[in-house]
Symmetry: C2
Subunit: 425 residues, 2 copies
């Protein structure tokens, strides 16, 4: 089965909003075994929507259109569908009643406008909206089936999951796919490591780099081929691979700590709280995250974390030993099993004579204390690197904790990258 | 002038990568006075690319295509352009030499593959790439002009800025645009407040809601009309409007504090460090951000921030007075002019008998201490609300600090929303 995605909305076309809906639909349809042939974005005009729908139906069996189902005058997807089908819009009284009820409960007297949502093309099937008011619509048109969904991501996803994907999913056509999650090693290095997999005819790899992480999507002809490829990848990647699918580095660290009934406390500087925020993004993190201290002003590293004042005096705040003492201070003062400390220079300016991108991570735990100094790739324009350096620092710190819990030594990345790059040529 | 955007790449089509390039191009072209008529995404096949290019040229004067200019076998945009123009690909020896040099400097022996980048359609003009190797291409085809750019965002943007936008920009057609930034008031309330502006024929408004924030984009026929509209909007919105353009709530708070040589310290719970992270996202924040304490475990609210143990015992951690004592603890123990404290329930589960979405913010400063309890809109499925609740809490806390610095009372949002909603009906 072949599908096309149509996104309706001026705000997407002119770039006020990034088209996350189309990306989500592309992923879900592909995973369901539906081939996505093309994706288009049009503005809020009847001509544009009808024209794009007709073009999509000429090329595909199924068209998923999102947006233009709201209650304002520029919501025209219903009108475009009716025009294309040559049918009138008819008021669905049950839906109109529902809308009236909701408006009244919200303390608003019903006005004509919101009731436009109840005017649906004759012959369209309504798909219940678990997350909002406007229902989805399914229409059989010459050329194929159109599913029209609200543009609000939560509502679109809810209707897709409840009504559309179950109708479209084709188990036999669904590719065997798994995403491997890796941290701390460059894409080029992973590609070299996974060369034996690349040679296989029954699998294909896609590399999706993010700051200090790379996701590797394995697509295989069959489930057995995928399982075999994943096994092979695990051997080739070793500890560099931290998880699969929807796992995040923070969620993996949380699981590792929870399994041991251990906790972690953090001491932050350049990240300003981002490390703790990442750890607590995971539901249930109160089980494994004690808390943190962000000692942004240098004096606070001494006052709140007990970092040696003379050390700070002599070497400044950006120093491996400072990172270690921050980790130890967090561990002791917050009463956690592990302490993580991060200090460094996010920019735009250098600090204490250390250049932008200099980062030291300290860790303290049952096995003692040590520091790790990652080599971060930096863009030519360092003033643009601040957010990236902070994010990479968080990832490197979480990965250091993961290695520490597992009792695996952190690889000395730079040297290894050098070798692997030479190995590539 | 009418343009269409064409994005080439399987990874975009199947949703591995969100189409940020198209959003950026939509914004830049619109700002340059070029109307974006449609945007399309196709996969890495010759047929799909040629077909989409032909369709785009039939409807637009200019087509901007990104992606498919790399060195691998699935980079086919050059081939599609040549096929469409009916011309051969010719090796550009100067470019080939440049590629060889770069490969050698990177320590790699030149292999045939990368040199594909030097095979350009006969008659195409090469647009220098300040950020990478593959140049952009401009081709005049029957129907219009095609600009082909690399898919790497940094390279695409660099070539657009250096070569394409200067050629396309139409000052007379460029709309006068300004984005107003507001916090803490719902879209419906803003729409009601700005009704007088909506009635003007020479301006149009677009509302772009985010958690606890709404950006309002004003597009006007002329610069004077825009200035007038912005002035009017300022009067209608008052303190609800915190800034314009690229300003963020955190950057505005930073500027307000810096102008007074004041600092802030934060005490966090449910946000886990996100509030400090947001404040320190702003370059130069070390001037105004002292640091923070994330007391995630309840006991730490007493041990690290001096919140009354009996208060925690009696009322639990989610309480207005706890938020105030957290703010006071942060202010005193970190030695800052202002202290902010946030406590609440992000979910998925309730805590201390308080339901998901309950949030209390405390503030302490030269004017004394108080608490604020925002009413946060929640989705039907509370287990999905965690990230949103944390983000809304950060925005509400920053907005409370902004009001406190300005000496403006925080509006009691819920009541006001009610009134405004009734005002709407």
């Amino acid at each position: 089965m072949r599908a096309e995605i149509l996104t309706v909305g001026d705000e997407i076309l002119i770039g006020d909003v990034v088209n996350g809906n189309a990306a989500w639909l592309g992923r879900e349809l592909t995973a369901a075994g539906v081939a996505v042939g093309r994706s288009a974005v049009v503005g809020d005009t009847l001509e544009a929507i009808s024209g794009a729908l007709a073009a999509a139906l000429a090329a595909a069996d199924v068209v998923i259109v999102t947006g233009g189902l709201g209650s304002t005058s520029d919501d025209l997807t219903r009108d475009a569908l009716a025009a294309l089908a040559g049918v009138p819009l008819v008021r669905d009284e049950a839906l109109a009643g529902l809308i009236r009820d909701r408006l009244e409960r919200a303390g608003m007297r019903p006005r004509p406008m919101p009731l436009r949502m109840a005017d649906v093309p004759e012959g369209a099937t309504m798909l219940p909206n678990p997350a909002g008011t406007a229902p989805g619509l399914r229409m059989e048109l010459p050329g194929g089936t159109v599913y029209a969904l609200p543009g609000v991501p939560g509502e679109m996803k809810a209707i897709m999951a409840a009504s559309v994907l179950p109708e479209l999913a084709d188990g036999d056509a669904a590719p065997a796919v798994l995403t491997l999650r890796t941290a701390g090693v460059w894409e080029t290095v992973l590609a070299a490591r996974l060369a034996p997999l690349e040679e296989r005819k029954d699998v294909s790899l896609a590399f999706l780099p993010e700051p200090s992480e790379v996701a590797v999507r394995i697509t295989a002809d069959s489930r057995p081929a995928l399982d075999e490829a994943v096994l092979q990848a695990r051997e080739l990647l070793g500890a560099v691979m931290y998880g699969t699918g929807e796992q995040s580095l923070a969620s993996v660290v949380h699981e590792l700590l929870a399994a041991r009934e251990h906790t972690v406390a953090v001491a932050e500087s350049l990240t300003g709280g981002l490390l703790g925020a990442e750890l607590t993004y995971v539901p249930g993190s109160s089980e494994t995250f004690a808390g943190g201290v962000t000692a942004y002003e240098t004096r606070l590293k001494h006052e709140l974390l007990g970092v040696s004042a003379s050390l700070l005096e002599e070497r400044g705040a950006v120093d491996p030993e400072v990172a270690v003492q921050m980790a130890e201070g967090a561990r002791e003062r917050l009463g956690a099993v592990y302490g993580l400390g991060v200090t460094g220079v996010a920019g735009p300016g250098s600090q204490d004579g250390k250049s932008v991108g200099t980062v030291h991570i300290g860790i303290s735990g049952p096995r003692g204390s040590r520091s790790f100094t990652p080599v971060l790739p930096l863009p030519p324009d360092l003033t643009q690197a601040r957010a990236n350096i902070r994010r990479m620092t968080v990832v490197q710190a979480l990965d250091l904790l993961r290695h520490e819990i597992l009792g695996v030594a952190m690889i000395r990345r730079w040297e290894e990258d050098q070798e692997d790059r030479e190995g590539l040529t």
